[in-house]
């Protein structure tokens, strides 16, 4: 038996080294994609397997940054009032040839219209296919924003907006805006197989879909005619495993080259492993504790400031994040442009906090801290975090009870404002500061409940609204910097931490970059030596 196993493992080992010469990159992915049309889904796992491998967007995020660069559009211009965006499309872009579809024409404006009208227009023949729920299109309020999309000529498309929205171009770089083939849509409609468009994907991206076995493996091959040049990797394999311990064992055994979401307990060992290059970057997220500013005494600025000072963030970082995080002082992470590094955080000062509470007339305060029941990158252990805050607040005479609910219930009740203070967080979608500040702290969100602090500050809100309407990045930066100063002074949240994302990559892989938006990109210079 042992001999047989040895022979088998030797065979496997040799075969793996043979595969390395053929440039096969294996990514130990953390789950199965929900499907292969990124406009219908919301999970990063799905985006890695679809938008980042198979598709392109009009504009894209540069690998390793949130900078928007040309994609299927070579260039774009915005009108002075910020209401019209004209995209000049790239010529000679080929769609994938698969066993079910052979394209007869290159990518053009019809594909843009097909892609966006499918999500937008309820009477579009493909709108209701696969359920017709276009999550991010809805979340980014694209339906309200768009006034019209026109084909000016085969290679020019004009988007007209109902109101000025500077983050529009960043939205176009998001996964949901991945461009589908209108010709493929026509072929499938004629064959009565419309559903296939979402399960047998055809895109313009650097890799071509080959096969998928749910919960097991996804296979891709390099797109030979890719407009950006053929990938260095000949074959890309996603080996699916939901258990982080096992993914690490596979990395060690050389069964995969890159893995996402390592177990925090394994990070130190990975760092010492000579075969593994442990890459790290601050995540595009923020974990916070929001005060319900509609409830006394949290309607008083001084109380919020005092409770900020009463929390020892460093100890939270050490205990909860085990070093895999950095203290947050602003509502946006430092990887986002317009991050205001001049803002000064509240120092940990329980004595001063106690004095401020007394000055505000707050004694024997009894309150609650809501702790999330789930693990998130911005908060790996909310219960533990709540316990630490509870202990810190006890030192300044505040008695806090820890409350938790099932996740759906937690979100619903906190949205309704049932909490005194609530732990939550946010992971950015498009690298734009608006996607954090307006979504989480704007007055509209205070009404709809997304703003858990239920804080509506006119000066802050009008600054953000102004920033939405100008397209000049320098002006926008100045406005967001100002907003961060107001935010810190008003203290509707205790900004707690930004997580650090670790990405173990085997040493034979070169050119891989950690993407701040969490995507895994195996193009743009990624190679195996």
């Amino acid at each position: 038996m042992k001999k047989t196993l040895l022979a088998l493992s030797l065979g496997l080992g040799l075969a793996v080294s043979g595969a390395a010469q053929a440039k096969t990159l294996v990514f130990c992915s953390e789950g199965s994609p929900e499907g292969f049309n990124p406009s219908l889904y919301s999970a990063g796992t799905t985006f890695d397997a679809s938008s980042q491998t198979l598709f392109n967007r009009l504009v894209q995020f540069e690998a390793g940054s949130t900078k928007v660069v040309p994609g299927l559009a070579e260039s774009w211009t915005a009108s002075a009032d910020g209401l019209e965006y004209t995209f000049k499309l790239r010529k000679g872009v080929k769609f994938h040839t698969t066993k079910d579809f052979t394209p007869t024409r290159d990518f053009n404006a019809d594909d843009i219209l097909f892609t966006f009208n499918r999500m937008w227009k309820e009477d579009h023949p493909y709108h209701d296919v696969s359920g017709g729920d276009y999550k991010y299109f809805g979340w980014m309020s694209m339906g309200d924003l768009l006034k019209s999309i026109e084909k000016v000529d085969d290679y020019t498309v004009k988007f007209t907006l109902n109101y000025a929205e500077a983050p529009f171009v960043s939205n176009m770089a998001m996964d949901f805006a991945s461009v589908l083939s209108a010709e493929y849509g026509d072929v499938l409609a004629a064959a009565g197989k419309k559903d296939d468009i979402d399960h047998k994907p055809v895109g313009t991206g650097p890799f071509v879909f080959k096969s998928y076995q749910k919960d097991a493996m996804i296979r891709y091959t390099a797109h030979d005619d890719y407009w950006g040049g053929r990938s260095n990797i000949d074959k890309l394999v996603f080996a699916i495993n939901t258990d982080a311990n096992v993914r690490y064992q596979k990395m060690k055994a050389g069964e995969c080259h890159v893995m996402p979401y390592p177990n925090p307990a394994d990070v130190a060992a990975m760092d010492k492993d000579p075969d593994i290059n442990l890459m790290r970057q601050e995540g595009l997220n923020v974990g916070y504790l929001a005060f319900n500013t509609e409830k006394p005494p949290f309607d008083q600025k001084a109380v919020r400031q005092a409770l900020n000072m009463a929390i020892n963030k460093q100890s939270i970082l050490d205990v909860v994040f085990k070093g895999a995080g950095s203290i947050a002082k602003n509502p946006i992470p430092p990887t986002i442009w317009s991050y205001n590094n001049d803002v000064k955080d509240y120092d940990y000062d329980p004595e001063k906090a106690k004095a401020m509470l007394a000055a505000a007339g707050v004694t024997n305060l009894k309150t609650n801290i809501w702790a999330m029941p789930v693990q998130r990158p911005y908060n790996p252990n909310a219960r533990r975090m709540a316990e630490l805050i509870q202990a810190d607040w006890a030192k300044v005479g505040v008695e806090a009870e820890i409350v938790t609910f099932e996740w759906g219930e937690y979100l619903k009740r906190s949205k309704n404002g049932e909490h005194d203070t609530v732990l939550l967080g946010w992971t950015g979608d498009n690298g734009d500061p608006d996607n954090f500040m307006y979504v989480l702290l704007g007055c509209d969100s205070a009404k709809s409940g997304g703003n858990r602090a239920r804080w509506c500050n006119q000066e802050f809100d009008s600054t953000l609204r102004q920033a939405k309407q100008v397209t000049d990045q320098a002006k926008r930066t100045a406005l967001y910097e100002k907003a961060q100063v107001i935010f810190k002074e008003e203290a509707p949240w205790v900004t707690i931490a930004h997580s650090v994302v670790f990405k173990p990559v085997r040493k034979e892989v070169s050119g891989f970059k950690v993407h701040p938006l969490g995507s895994h990109i195996f193009y743009d210079g990624v190679d195996i030596n």
Binding site: K2, S9, A19, W139, D195, K214, I240, F405, G408
Partner: protein, 334 residues
């Protein structure tokens, strides 16, 4: 025999409806709904929430939802997954062969080792061999699956480099799914080495999943054999001068098997429960992992359909076991 079969099948009808009710009620009893879970921190407006719930038919009274579900089930429609938008039955049967292959290999492993081990322990009662076998089986029975799985991976995959860490087949092979059973499909394909790779990947998960049934079968075989060996007819057979092998193999084992077959039948449910953990550890693409994911994402139709189909599998196996009793001991048929 026929009337026996009909009686057993009739008993299954209320069980079937009971299972649909439990599966339907279970997933709805969990707090949160699919729309909220999917929206997460991003949230969803009450209007959009109501619209999506209505689109999925969850705005209707609960009894109406149940009867419409039962109506669809009786027509063979288990609904569409709320996550992937694919028919539940299609997803289930895409993944089921992997679980079945793993479970069959695990039970074969358990039977092939467990019965002889129990037999030897019974024959050598009180000896060191007996005590050794029983201690090992107690340890096997008490072993948490996830811990045992990781231990074997660290030992056999990362230290001795004898087995792969996880998966069903090396990424070097691209076997076209025909039956869904990798051992068979890899033989049907023309890729050299694919069968060996499939077998290689199956060894550790089958051992891990088969460990608890092995322990139970060994202990059950031992106690059943001890009981039978003390019967008068065995003593008579011995007194007539039959060889010990003949006495054990022909006279004792056959009667002891009735209890053992019952236990093997009951182990099918244990195997399917254990498959959830084993599949997670070994990245085995089966229904266990799928059900768990469906529960977490409140994929109502996938959970209902999945649980129902699993229950049908367990009922079918139990029916086969009942029929096997008849073959082993024809008196049961009467």
């Amino acid at each position: 025999m026929l009337s026996f079969l009909i009686k057993r099948l009739l008993v299954l009808v209320p069980v079937f409806f009971g299972v649909t009710l439990v599966a339907f009620g279970f997933i709805r009893a969990l707090p949160g709904d699919p729309v909220e879970v999917l929206a997460g921190e991003r949230g969803v407006t009450p209007e959009r929430h109501a619209e999506l719930m209505a689109q999925m038919g969850f705005d209707k009274p609960i009894w109406q939802q149940y009867f419409s579900y039962i109506g669809d089930v009786l027509q063979g429609d288990l609904g569409t997954s709320l996550i992937t938008n694919r028919p539940v039955i299609e997803e289930f049967f895409e993944l089921f062969p992997a679980t079945a292959e793993l479970a069959i290999c695990a039970i074969l492993f358990a039977v092939i080792i467990g019965i002889p081990a129990g037999l030897i322990a019974a024959v050598k009662r009180g000896s060191i061999i007996d005590q050794g076998i029983m201690s090992f089986s107690l340890a096997g029975y008490s072993m948490p699956i996830f811990w045992w799985g990781l231990l074997l991976i660290i030992l056999f995959s990362n230290t001795l480099h004898l087995t792969p860490v996880s998966g069903r087949l090396s990424f070097l092979f691209d076997v076209e799914p025909v039956t869904g059973f990798m051992l068979i499909d890899s033989l049907l394909g023309d890729e050299d080495g694919a069968f060996a790779s499939a077998l290689h990947h199956l060894v550790l998960p089958a051992i891990v999943l088969g460990t608890i049934p092995l322990a139970v079968i060994a202990r059950q075989t031992r106690s059943a054999m001890l009981e039978v060996l003390s019967e008068d007819y065995v003593r008579t057979a011995k007194a007539k001068g039959l060889s010990p092998v003949r006495v054990i193999a022909l006279h004792a084992l056959r009667n002891a098997m009735i209890t053992v077959v019952t236990v093997i039948g009951l182990q099918v449910a244990v195997l399917l429960a254990g498959a959830i953990l084993t599949e997670t550890i070994f990245g085995w693409p089966g229904i266990g992992k799928w059900i768990i994911f469906s529960v977490f994402s409140r994929d109502y139709y996938a959970v209902q359909g999945g649980l129902l189909l699993i229950a049908v599998c367990v009922m079918t196996v139990n029916l086969i076991v009942d029929l096997l009793y008849g073959l082993i001991n024809p008196r049961i048929l009467h």
